[in-house]
């Protein structure tokens, strides 16, 4: 296994908005902690609300700048200048947002939405871009015809696939997803999960995702990171963590999940 993305002493402190000289609420502090992501592995980030999961995801894909520490992308950039390197890293680490309905521009067709990253990041001609878009659409299980659709004409699951196509179109090596399954119903959710697993097999992607659904986490994640109040409290292989959770909060999360599962099938394994 080779490390593809690593964070060293990653810290992020949000500026608390000041109103009339007094702070409205406390500043949020994330880190400092280290994190590595291996090539072609799936990492799940779990934790309660305001535990810093989304901030971590945004830091990883470059949507927010860390206050301290750095995120290193372990692959040689084809460019030398710092700005070009940063942009290349953003191409290689792509993000899928929580609400796909809001992450797709409602005024552009799916084709227009998919043209955008290619236009900004590659030198492909219009015909080449069209070809690439058709390929990526079929890759995520959509039809060529969806090129002409507007986002609001698609169902939630299809919108999620478009968001995935948008992330995949630049041939990234890491995909960071912020609760990609939250808005989907169970059947579409399992379809999406299978799609991700298949894409990962085909393309050798690393996949970092945030989820509250521990069933999915257990199903697809190789490793798991548990966060609480801006700190990583526990990290390790998924099956290890599920069987022998060490930290109290992890124990609580896991037992809450286990209590939903009929005891006959899973109860024995817990012991």
């Amino acid at each position: 296994m080779t490390t593809i993305l690593s964070a060293k002493a990653l810290t992020y402190v949000s500026e608390a908005p000041r109103r009339f000289g007094r702070r409205k609420h406390e500043a949020f502090k994330l880190g400092p902690f280290d994190l590595t992501i291996e090539k072609a592995e799936t990492v799940a980030i779990i934790g309660g609300n305001r535990s810093g999961k989304s901030v971590l995801a945004r830091l990883l894909c470059g949507a927010m700048q860390p206050t301290d520490g750095e995120i290193i992308f372990h692959q040689d950039a084809p460019h030398s200048s710092t700005a070009a390197k940063q942009q290349w890293q953003k191409q290689q680490v792509r993000m899928i947002f929580q609400r796909s309905s809001e992450s797709l521009n409602p005024a552009l067709t799916i084709g227009g939405i998919l043209h955008e990253p290619l236009k900004l990041n590659t030198d492909l001609s219009y015909a080449q871009r069209e070809e690439k878009i058709a390929a990526v659409l079929s890759q995520v299980g959509l039809l060529r015809e969806h090129y002409f659709f507007y986002p609001h004409m698609l169902s939630d699951g299809q919108q999620q696939r478009v968001a995935m196509a948008r992330a995949l179109i630049l041939n990234p090596s890491v995909i960071v997803a912020d609760e990609p399954f939250a808005a989907l119903d169970p059947s579409v959710r399992s379809q999406t999960v299978n799609l991700i697993l298949q894409l990962q097999r085909d393309l050798g992607l690393s996949f970092v995702f945030i989820s509250h659904n521990l069933g999915i986490v257990r199903h697809i994640a190789d490793r798991m990171v548990v966060m609480n109040e801006g700190q990583i409290i526990e990290a390790g292989r998924t099956d290890t963590l599920f069987r022998w959770p060490k930290h109290e909060i992890t124990q609580r999360l896991i037992s809450a999940h286990q209590s939903l599962i009929p005891q006959a099938s899973d109860g024995k394994r817990l012991k």
């Binding site: 953003k90 993000m95 929580q98 809001e102 521009n105 955008e116 900004l120 990041n121 015809e145």
Partner: protein
Amino acid sequence: MSRFNLYIDEQHPSPWQQTWREFKRSHVAMAGIIMLGFFTVVALFGPLIAPYDPLLQNTDTTLIPPSWDPSGTVRYVLGTDALGRDLFSRLIHASQVTFGTSVMLVMVAMLVGVAIGVMAGMSYGVRASIINHLLDALMVIPTLLLAIIIVAIVGTGLVNSMWAITLALIPHFVHHTRNTVRELMKKEFILATKLDGASKPHIFIYSLLPNMIEMLVVQGTIALSIAILDITALGFLNLGAQGSTIELGAMLAESLNVVYIAPWNIALPGLTIFLMVFSVNVVGDGLRAALNRRLRH
């Protein structure tokens, strides 16, 4: 072009086609847009339709009533005024001036207002809040009052009153543009575009503008009705169009002294102003409803 469509291609209506489809379902709005189209044709080709020179005075034919009156004549369809000028020709020229200048000044106000509004919306900090709160304070004053103050400073005249109304309308566009841009900038698709490495002009053209057009159309029609009323009001108060420029408000003011003997001289320009404002408002309302309904589907 072949007459037959051999292959039944699925049609993919653009947002505009969908809006138009929704718009057509409202008959009142359709009536409004037909009226608006009529005024546009008059504004473009008015002088070609007018039967007489609107300034031609004829002392033999003063105050002839409209043709449907027993003492009217068909040569002057809508009658004549106190100086014997054909009212129909005058109305056509007047609506050309009123409607044309209103459309023009709304366009200028929209361009300037959107430019400032986008700058205010996309930037943060002191500069943005200065633009915003300073211009929001101006919105408290009614546009007509503001226009009268500006005309009082720069002097009367049609062009001056146009500038005055343009300046008075700009804060409205700035305000609405800024609010829309602020709201859009929080959306995740803007962040996604930023992560693609988009520059500010790119974000404006591909992400903000297509999502802003609906708001601009609605605000544009509201501003147009305000502009028509203000232009005619300034003309009526003798602050706007002067001398030989025929304008609906000025026509009303001129005919005031013959209102009891020749009421059609007041009624017809008044009716024209009413229809103009009414059609603009009805179209604006229909558009707003159509856009709302389109987003719900």
